[in-house]
């Protein structure tokens, strides 16, 4: 099977994520979309490392996972605080700061 398909898949996943951020309202879901984009990048990295036959890409993907994990921690913390004070996780409700 042609390895470039993995690239196509990663691009598709990234696009889905990028668009998902635009169309979903729930902060959690948006954040999941972002995670999806990160994983798409991971897929791309791994694929490329396969193509180039060196391990840099795979190492990088591990870094990414760790970083993603950190983001999850902080992100959820923030989202939860917002939820607690507003009783809503919709990002559209959080629009006091504008103009």
């Amino acid at each position: 099977m042609d390895i470039s398909n993995y690239l196509y898949l990663s691009v598709i996943l990234f696009t889905i994520g990028a668009l998902g951020v635009l169309i979903r309202r729930n902060a959690i879901v948006i954040f999941m979309c972002i995670e999806l984009m990160l994983n798409a990048s991971n897929l791309a990295l791994v694929t490329f490392s396969r193509i180039h036959g060196n391990l840099d890409g795979q190492v990088a993907s591990f870094f990414t996972m760790v970083v993603a994990a950190c983001e999850v921690v902080v992100g959820l913390a923030i989202i939860v605080t917002i939820y607690r004070s507003r009783r809503s996780a919709s990002v559209d409700d959080a629009s006091l700061l504008k103009n």
């Binding site: 990028a18 951020v21 635009l22 169309i23 309202r25 948006i30 990002v91 559209d92 959080a94 629009s95 006091l96 700061l97 504008k98 103009n99």
Partner: protein, 629 residues
Amino acid sequence: MRTSSHLVYLIALPLFSSALLLLLGRIADKWGHLLATLVSASTFGIGVSEFVAMHSHTGANRAATQKLFEWISVGNLKVDASLLLDQLSICFVLLITGVGTLIHIYSIAYMDHDKDRRRFFAYLNFFIAAMLLLVLGDSYLNLYVGWEGVGLASYLLIGFWNQNPVYAVAAKKAFVANRVGDLGLSLAIMISFAQFGTVSFTGVKAGAPHASPAALTAIGAMLLLAAAGKSAQFPLQSWLGDAMAGPTPVSALIHAATMVTAGVYLITRSNFIFDASSTARILVVSVGVITLLFGAIVGTAKDDIKKALAASTMSQIGYMILATGLGPVGYAFAIMHLLTHGFFKAGMFLGAGSVMHGMDDEVNMRKYGGLAKLMPITAVTFGLGYLAILGVPPFAGFYSKDKIIETAFNQGGGKGIILGGAALLGAMITAFYMTRVVVLTFAGARRWKDGSHPHESSVLMWGPMVILALGSVASGFLLSMGSSLVNWLQPVVNASNATGGKELMKPLVVSLLALAVVILGAGYAIVKYRTVPEIAPEQVSVFTKAARKDLYQDVFNNAVLVKPGTILTAGLVATDHNVIDGAVRFVGWVISEVSDVLRKIQNGYVRSYALTMLVGVFIGAVILWVVTA
């Protein structure tokens, strides 16, 4: 050409004393007028001594110069503050200082009651200084300084009683009209500099032969414009009538004898320009003719004695301008008429002043009448001046005016006929309105209120009148005896190449003709004004109406200049605020509108922020693609 070291005092003395009187203020009230008169007299003394000195020399050495200091020297423009006294300027020096002194004396009494007499005399001295600078400057630029100086003096003196708005306006009008003339003079100076690289009389004279006719005509026209402004010639004549707002001695000195004749001086001084450009000469004679008739006609309808005399001044100067336009031969006659006119017109103005003095400053001649008995001296002196202006032999006017008419005829051809005819016609009308003045004022029944007590003025006032009267009797004869003045001026106006033109008529014929028309005009006036209504009749001919309105000159000026000017000004003021400043404000408005749009885009929704980012990425991708592909 010799150098003299005294010329400067002619200007410095009166200038200094006027500055002194102005700076000292009230302290000088006691003796201010005396100092001024003394200074004026002493300038006359200097003038006479210089005149004598000139006689002691011959040829080119008659003219004297004095370099004071280097005034302006930039690039090839070099103008020294230096004076030139030659045969032409000495005539004026004597006239200015002589008549000036007489009028100083006269004013001592005339302005006696005025608490600002000192200021008046300061102005008079200032005028003397400026006028002398005008005639003594050795370059057009020096002349220009005096030129504007006398304008200022005239402005100050016309507006001497400027608490009266009408007088203030009259002063302003005079200054502005003069400025239009000055515009002409300054342009003439610029053209000469561009042409000859110099603005001195000698330099321009030397260069004139090499210049293009067009340039010479341009210079001539501009000089004529200047002359018109200063000498109240058509089309800039309108200010002279209003200028009578000034105290009568001023009218006598500035607006009859001296300043208003500066135009004649300018043209005579620039004879080398006009000799070289026939077109310019045509313009000059046209202006002269138009004005001499214009003034005469206006004069026929004026009831204000001073305005009537002013109109006659305008007309007489018309004669002089006409003469200057008649080529080399004419200059001398122009100057001669200028001098005689200086005597008789000044004399008549002083007479008018003395009448007003006796009549509580009443100026309307219809309220005079039969004053001859009560003011004999005034009446006699005035009468002599009257005979002189009419040109009755052997009085002064006869010599000067007839010469001009004669020369006009001798131009030959249709031109000669027209000019000469116009001059004759002018003489007739002059006879008419002057007779009218005399009759209304001194003859006939008394028409003044019982309240006023006409009386002869003090010796301080009639003394000068007598002297001037003598001048108006004798000056003409003296000046023309052995055509002394002509020969005297010959080096300046080089009338040597003056062909008298082939005589159309014998001089005697011309004189008889002139005398005839004069008698005609005078006779008609005597008949017409046997009885005079105290109030000017309303139902009069259109002709008279026009004349009373100065032939609608002010109406015209208002319609053509003042009104549009006012509208234009208002329009520009609005433009400045709305259009020019408005443009700037508009830019500001646009920016703030855009800013407002941006503000709305910043809508607070995190998802739309993400969208803008994504859009940014796409646009970036597109640009990148366009550039690389």
